[in-house]
Symmetry: C2
Subunit: 352 residues, 2 copies
Amino acid sequence: MSRAIALAAACLLVALPWRAPAAPASPLTLREQGSFFVGGETKTVSLPASGRMPAQHGDVTVNQMYVQYQIPLKGARHVPLVLVHGCCLSSKTWETTPDGRMGWSEYFVRKDRSVYLVDQVSRARSGFDAQAFDAVRAGTLANARMPSILQATHQLAWSVFRFGPRFGEAFADEQFPVQAVDELYKQMIPDLNATLPEEANPTWTQMAALATRLQAAVLIGHSESGFFPERAALIDARAIRGSITIETGCDTGLSAAQLATLAHVPTLVIFGDHLDAVTQPFSWMGAFDSCNTFVRQLRSAGGDAQMMSLPALGIKGNSHMLMQDKNSDRIADLVIAWIDRHVESAQGRGAH
Amino acid sequence: MSRAIALAAACLLVALPWRAPAAPASPLTLREQGSFFVGGETKTVSLPASGRMPAQHGDVTVNQMYVQYQIPLKGARHVPLVLVHGCCLSSKTWETTPDGRMGWSEYFVRKDRSVYLVDQVSRARSGFDAQAFDAVRAGTLANARMPSILQATHQLAWSVFRFGPRFGEAFADEQFPVQAVDELYKQMIPDLNATLPEEANPTWTQMAALATRLQAAVLIGHSESGFFPERAALIDARAIRGSITIETGCDTGLSAAQLATLAHVPTLVIFGDHLDAVTQPFSWMGAFDSCNTFVRQLRSAGGDAQMMSLPALGIKGNSHMLMQDKNSDRIADLVIAWIDRHVESAQGRGAH
């Protein structure tokens, strides 16, 4: 590299605003990485013959939760982060973005945070309980009782994820990289949560158990799993140091005792832009309002709770998939700043 | 560290046999990591209403293949490796072993190999085509035509994976870490390959496309996917520099033209121990014999093909899950040595 080019490059670096994406061509160094399961129960089943596989009567494991993690060199300095994806998605949500940029998982690792990616129970590498499907096939369970398989079409996703007013047409200030939307569609996979008990989703239990195993964790949920950090904390809040709830409807009907429990956990709720553009099949403004109510309830109970509406901060055009939006690094920085201030400073002061 | 301890530690290092597991407490440095999809087709579907989700008519993406990769600093020096898991499993196969040791994926990266982990089409993060299930639920497809969901019970796995002569009883020289077998059972998830066309599994096509995208790759398959490297090469062998087939039945009925194609790809077949201990539901000796025949056929066609029977090398007690066995590092070293000699030396000599 000539001196002139080097100088120009150095000036360019200096000229960049501090929030610009790091775009690191620099190597990533990890202290450790790996994967494991949390929970899982043995269930005795009778399985029909299939291909070369004989009929079987024996045990299978169900309700286990797959976790993939990376610990950076300085990971011990910060509280680990647990990230849980939404409906019809997997942990792919947090990895390389549809347009090929670094996702939140690696971005957080590069910010010295240990990151634990969860595939929800009944999804992706966590597997699912197939018994009801086998029973329908065998004729021992009525077809109508087969668990429904949740999927979103491209058309529904475009609308509900708030990419634009009509399928294929983006909002003028849209932050989602719509030119790469086909790569998001490939991430959208069948959702088998209907195989789980609605009022006691095992993912909540395993998230609480994961936090306990890590001794301390900030739980981050999105959309379908947006309120899972709170559900986990209602099961066992002891090791949950923070709840981050992204783009979901919040439960405004919690009891005083439940709110008292959650008030011990610093809570951040995040919403993007264009909430009033979607009213069907459900209202984003309704979801936003429910979370504003929940934040007020938590504060009344003495909690440290905050609603972060990105447009209110002057950050416009964010979609439902804000961790994949073009300004995803900037939003990740806001998350880190909130954790530093509300979780880690609080710990430093011995609040927990 | 005192001088005496340092000296003792140094002596210990010297005394270790060269094949001892690396057990690296050392950090791992990556040039790059991420994930992406190969392939995927748009399909127009009608989906029933489900929960808050309305009935939908629109497009979904099917047959995409999820790939997760890590490139080490010196990755460009070697041909990338593509690893594909077997029946009722996911890419978890290659990660942290059931007893908590480093899996082949990270081990290979630490040996300067770029590693690409594939979730088979219709499994885990690749998703699956749910249309036939929806149709049965709606009553528009006969129950008997619902794709069967393949699962293996703990009892069948213990037998077929050759952990021991009877459930819960291990072979005296068993290499699988049977004390941690519950962690393997958690990896075993429902297999939806019956949703795919049997004679044209999209995973084969996507594996060939992945090799082409990487410009060169060694494909490694195991069990259900053991012969997938060959199936991929029969679709497009141009960028496939090697096929490694682990513990499967081989196709001995390929045509002369097909064998001529495969003869361009150096091929390694690996089998573990205790093959004669299992005859039901299928015969491991029969699988072994079929692969010996296949290797002979490839050689007759001018190919560089090798059967690596671990017991014949004096390596005893390996199970079907040899990448998770206690001596998994040693077997990985054999794989690397074969690649260095049969793929990379050959390239160095301009054979390709």
